[in-house]
């Protein structure tokens, strides 16, 4: 059954080759003082930085920059960006990069005019902004997080050893996002595959919850089937535009609120993965991959029917002559094979986690209650240990 909900997702998306050419028209809607936000040097190497700088010039924009946004954007970096944005009297923020850069730009946008400490307000107390929000647009260069069409923002506080995400309301969503699959093609294979698993896990977190019949789960199954097909093609040939474009589009719909409408969701894999990330600073998608199978194999008996459905509807396992338990196991086996095909990291020990971190990671894991089994601390420790 679909519970009551609101769906509102006003982000305008420009998708396809050379979609960046629409940037000029969009920029007309905003003021002259633009803050350009990006990560490492890749946007300078692949020509995207030059292209965008040229468009800014044509539009007569006055540009300040925040460079060096890291894969897990930090609280310190957020404060640095807020300071630059204030000094620049920023009218508009353009994020050019992957999910981290988009996440970070949204965090800056709600903090520029905020009188309180943004970490405490948004990531500890989970409050909504009570100040002016600086509008954000995105030029996406990596598919995975869905940050281009949602209000989500994840920030890491190394001092507190916490990596916390806040999903803000519609006002914080990007006003527009530019999605050119070609921009994702210069990404190293490791990052591409981490992004692919991030997408898969976003869908799983929303799928593996509840036992009712609802349209959202059927859409999720369609998205997962698309992702499985296109990820296999992309791993064979990362230059396959068909595959990369499907992956990019699936990523957007995996986490723009659609497939969670009217149903419960889980998100424990993200809670575990983010805690691992806070300790290891490892690539987000890989932290999710490494904790997923220990978690799913553990909770499977509590959500047997859904795991059996997953096997049949997503992985094409034939149900003939199989019990739900056999089916459910076969589905997770199929997912494990696919994960290995993708070259995903299957153990947190391979991401730099050590045995002596386990208690700390368990402490940093926020326990949520939407899944088939609410974990206790002992179970979290067991799941983490199973990922060594």
């Amino acid at each position: 059954m679909l519970g009551n909900f609101i769906y509102h997702n006003p982000t305008k998306l420009y998708f396809g080759k050379d979609a960046v050419n629409s940037l000029k028209d969009e920029l007309k809607n905003y003021g002259d003082n633009v803050l350009l936000v990006y990560g490492g040097g890749s946007v300078k190497k692949n020509g995207i930085y030059d292209k965008i700088t040229e468009i800014f010039k044509e539009c007569g924009k006055n540009v300040a920059e925040v460079a060096g946004v890291m894969p897990n954007p930090t609280y310190e970096k957020l404060l640095e960006g807020v300071k630059i944005a204030k000094q620049h009297n920023t009218d508009f923020i353009l994020a050019v990069g992957g999910g981290s850069v988009c996440d970070y730009s949204k965090a800056v946008s709600v903090s520029v005019h905020c009188d309180e400490d943004p970490w405490d307000k948004y990531f500890i107390r989970f409050e909504e902004p009570s100040c002016e929000i600086v509008p954000v647009g995105c030029v996406l260069t990596m598919a995975g997080t869905g940050s281009e069409m949602n209000g989500g923002s994840v920030i890491t506080n190394h001092e507190a050893k916490l990596k916390i995400g806040h999903v803000f309301g519609d006002d914080v969503m990007p006003k527009f996002s530019i999605l050119d699959p070609v921009y994702t093609m210069t990404l190293p294979k490791y990052q591409m595959c981490a992004g692919i698993y991030d997408i898969m896990n976003h869908i799983c977190e929303q799928y593996f919850s509840g036992e009712d019949d609802n349209t959202s789960d059927y859409i999720s199954e369609g998205l997962m089937r698309s992702l499985i097909t296109s990820s296999r093609a992309a791993v064979k040939d990362p230059q396959d535009y068909e595959a990369r474009s499907n992956i990019m589009w699936t990523a957007t719909w995996a986490l723009n609120t659609l497939v969670s409408r009217g149903k419960t969701t889980d998100w424990m894999v993200h809670m575990l993965g983010q805690a691992v990330g806070a300790y290891t600073d490892a690539t987000h998608g890989m932290t999710l991959a490494a904790v997923s199978l220990p978690y799913y194999r553990y909770i499977m008996p509590y959500g047997l029917k859904k795991f059996a459905r997953f096997a049949v509807n997503v992985w094409g396992v034939s149900p003939d002559g199989k019990t739900d338990e056999q089916l459910a196991n076969a589905g997770l086996d199929a997912m494990e094979s696919w994960m290995k095909e993708m070259g995903l990291v299957m153990k947190i020990s391979e991401l730099g986690a050590t045995q002596d971190m386990i208690e700390g990671i368990a402490d940093a894991t926020i326990i949520l209650d939407g899944g088939y089994k609410v974990l206790d601390r002992g179970e979290i420790v067991d799941i983490l240990k199973a990922s060594f």
Copy 2:
């Protein structure tokens, strides 16, 4: 492959039981002169009219009414609505009803301030509005058309014997829509089933086109599987909230542009059905049902692989030991069984079409080129004859 596209769908949706309680907040965003648009007397019988009138009173709105919008809204009715809207200095239009009422309200919204003849401008020349557009909101009482979250509007001109749809841009989309599945439950079963087939056909029209791999088709498959499951439950028990809520939500996503992004589409079943509708004034969904199988069985050989995929991924036909042709036929057989379960009209002769109308219906059928075979006039006549 996903071709280039723009996706922008800013309609805000309030979904679920008593979602109408959000109307008060939404109305605050618009001026005082409201035009209330509805169809027959059902909204007065089931209490929705009283509820909305009460909300208008609480909000201090100044209300004019256009009542009696028919299932296939006519050009004459459009002119009547435009006149009332002008006299009332309308700031906002609230459509309360099914797709016809929503379609009609959008046609009024783009015509109030238009100096040209709206039939010629929008439905013959397919132009975009160049005048002020009066904002529209919807309270939906029937699931089917998707009009609650798109820019579409279909108007019938009896004099010209034409029923033509125009999909307007984002500015014409409803600002908000209120979707309470309970509101659909007082609908007669015939209308419910016509709506269910309208949904199915919207998806098929976008699915049966192209041979590439794209995410849109996978989402379509998920939506169709959801619809098949929930329609079977709803036909058994029309009061099944779970089923009716899933059907309502599927209807919205079947035609809000999502599943057509980046791919070609067909829409010939709608062209045939609309021509039948212009001659018979029959219920829209039933005209689509009656022409569908003759059309799909005719074009199947030209799109064999997609029809085979449809059989396996949508209807769960086992591919073991079957040729593509056998699979494709089995898929259409499964669809035919389901259509009969739904009690759909399978022949246009049952809708009042007579042999002597065939040439005229063929003349009124607009030939599109997105499907697996571009039909010629003779083929259209053959398909219509096969529906007797």
